[in-house]
Symmetry: C2
């Protein structure tokens, strides 16, 4: 099961944090970009190649300390076909290094279409007769719950059949997430509480040996009070926690997302790891030719800080 | 403005319906699939090529009678990189034929990431300095509102800058859409009503010469009663209406989505047009080598049926 493999890796590496490979061109050192733009010209292909080189270096520098990477699909789609090729190559490279790959696509649609998304990212795409082929082959996908269970079911089927996982958006890390997610319903519960109850229900038949389900939830680090409530409602749900680092979430904030077993949450950091070499903390130690070492140093610092905060909770 | 161009085309062609190019292999005639699988082998590339040939024939057979096509991204993503290449080629082919292209991706994320999605589908992707390149270049994109305004704003900026449009999910056509969308809030309004009010607000500065906004909404044909309510709340919002035909929505149902000016809604049909040659209505007239003529006949029948229903409302 996805969730068991994930937790095995979290325990093995003693690290509940993941590297978010959500690259933007401004994150990438000049010497990498220059080489690619010189070779391919000023186009999407050059940009995508620069991203691939950058991603590989960060994976090389962190694969032995993190259990998984999260790839934000938007950051690849913006470079068109070449970007999506690089998404795929990055995912394959990470898998070769023993990392789990979470595709952060927040996909959602009606049932028959959700089936197509699930085939694309988790399952396998049917061809003629019994033949099929894997399109992207991530280990898990983030999904949006706005359409209810029939948009989720196809993913659940593939989670079972292919040992994959999903993380359902419950409470997102952005400022305006409350506009819909915090609305108080007539039952006295807020929208995010109701969605959390759905997530528990949707994942109840996908539990593994640690008692957690392969149906996880996205709960932003920037809302620690809501995280406390959601942790209680979704006891056996793994939380994928964005918003740590550059978005303002602290280790103390994310600690609320863990259970007392020290498990139950996966904290993502994207910018703070990818751009560590540009940060006040690391820029004096590592120049931009040593960006990957800066990312490693920050990934280790983050791991230790979060482990520390969990211990202290 | 996107919305003006759209309405110009709706008026010119006297047709408020669009062809949904949401292909599945089982929709495609055997002779097309066989040719591609024979040439490329049993793989995603052959499947994608079959879809491209199929799409082109349907565009050729309908471009003079419809204002736009809607391309469901999931149906292309499931064929991997080759599928996305074919999405792009189909979109470009449709644009060459004078059609508007609606990318149905239901994208959503926090602000900085929504910016990347918007660059991918509506705007342009920045490279170095002032340079940029278009990744996919659709005319409009469907988006999911669950993250609130900061996930929408980047799209609004590009709608203004590049004359594009978005359609925000409000009430979807699937069975379980009510699980979240119909929830009654403490204010006495349902979730879909509140989202509808947001859509009005988000689009108020993007209105064109007909009084409609480039920020539209998705409202399923399968919920005519909700459509009536939503039509009232969102007077100047163009509704993209899925669910007609194969999903069970009738012309009478979709009539509720129009305003008394005969405008205000765009009805999508995917399966019923793509698979017209397989349908009880057309299979005796057109065999599978004449699938495109069947699609044309069905597109004309649908146009007339909807125009009739609007007149009769």
């Amino acid at each position: 099961m996805f969730i068991d493999t994930l937790i095995d890796k979290v325990i093995e590496k003693n690290n509940p944090s993941v590297v978010g490979l959500d690259p933007k061109l401004e994150y990438i050192p000049e010497h990498i970009k220059k080489a690619e733009f010189d070779q391919y010209g000023m186009n999407l292909k050059a940009a995508a190649e620069a991203i691939l080189k950058f991603n590989r270096s960060i994976i090389d520098a962190t694969y032995d300390i993190v259990p998984a990477v999260k790839l934000q699909l938007a950051c690849y789609e913006m470079y068109g076909l070449e970007g999506i090729r690089v998404f795929n190559e990055t995912a394959n490279y990470a898998k070769q290094k023993g990392l789990l790959v979470i595709a952060d696509g927040k996909r959602n649609d009606i049932g028959s279409t959700a089936e197509a998304y699930s085939a694309a990212f988790l399952g396998s795409t049917p061809l003629m007769g019994e033949a099929s082929e894997t399109a992207f082959g991530a280990d898990a996908l983030t999904v949006n719950p706005y359409l209810g269970i029939d948009g989720i079911k196809p993913f659940l089927n593939d989670c079972r059949k292919y040992e994959k996982g999903i993380f359902v958006l419950v409470k997102t890390s952005n400022k305006s997430s409350g506009q819909i997610q915090d609305l108080l319903t007539a039952t006295g519960k807020s929208m995010y509480e109701i969605v959390a109850e759905y997530v528990v229900e949707w994942g109840k038949n996908l539990k593994g040996k640690y008692g957690y389900s392969s149906v996880g939830a996205v709960v932003g680090a920037t809302y620690p009070n809501q995280a406390k409530i959601l942790r209680r409602i979704m006891k056996e749900v793994y939380l994928l926690v964005p918003g740590y680092g550059a978005q303002g979430g602290t280790a103390r904030d994310v600690a609320h997302s863990f259970n007392s077993d020290g498990l139950g949450a996966l904290v993502n950091a994207s910018r703070s790891i990818m751009c560590a070499y540009q940060s006040d903390m690391w820029k004096d130690t590592y120049d931009e030719t040593h960006f990957a070492e800066a990312s490693r140093a920050e990934a280790i610092r983050m791991r230790d800080e979060i482990n520390d905060a969990i211990g202290k909770k």
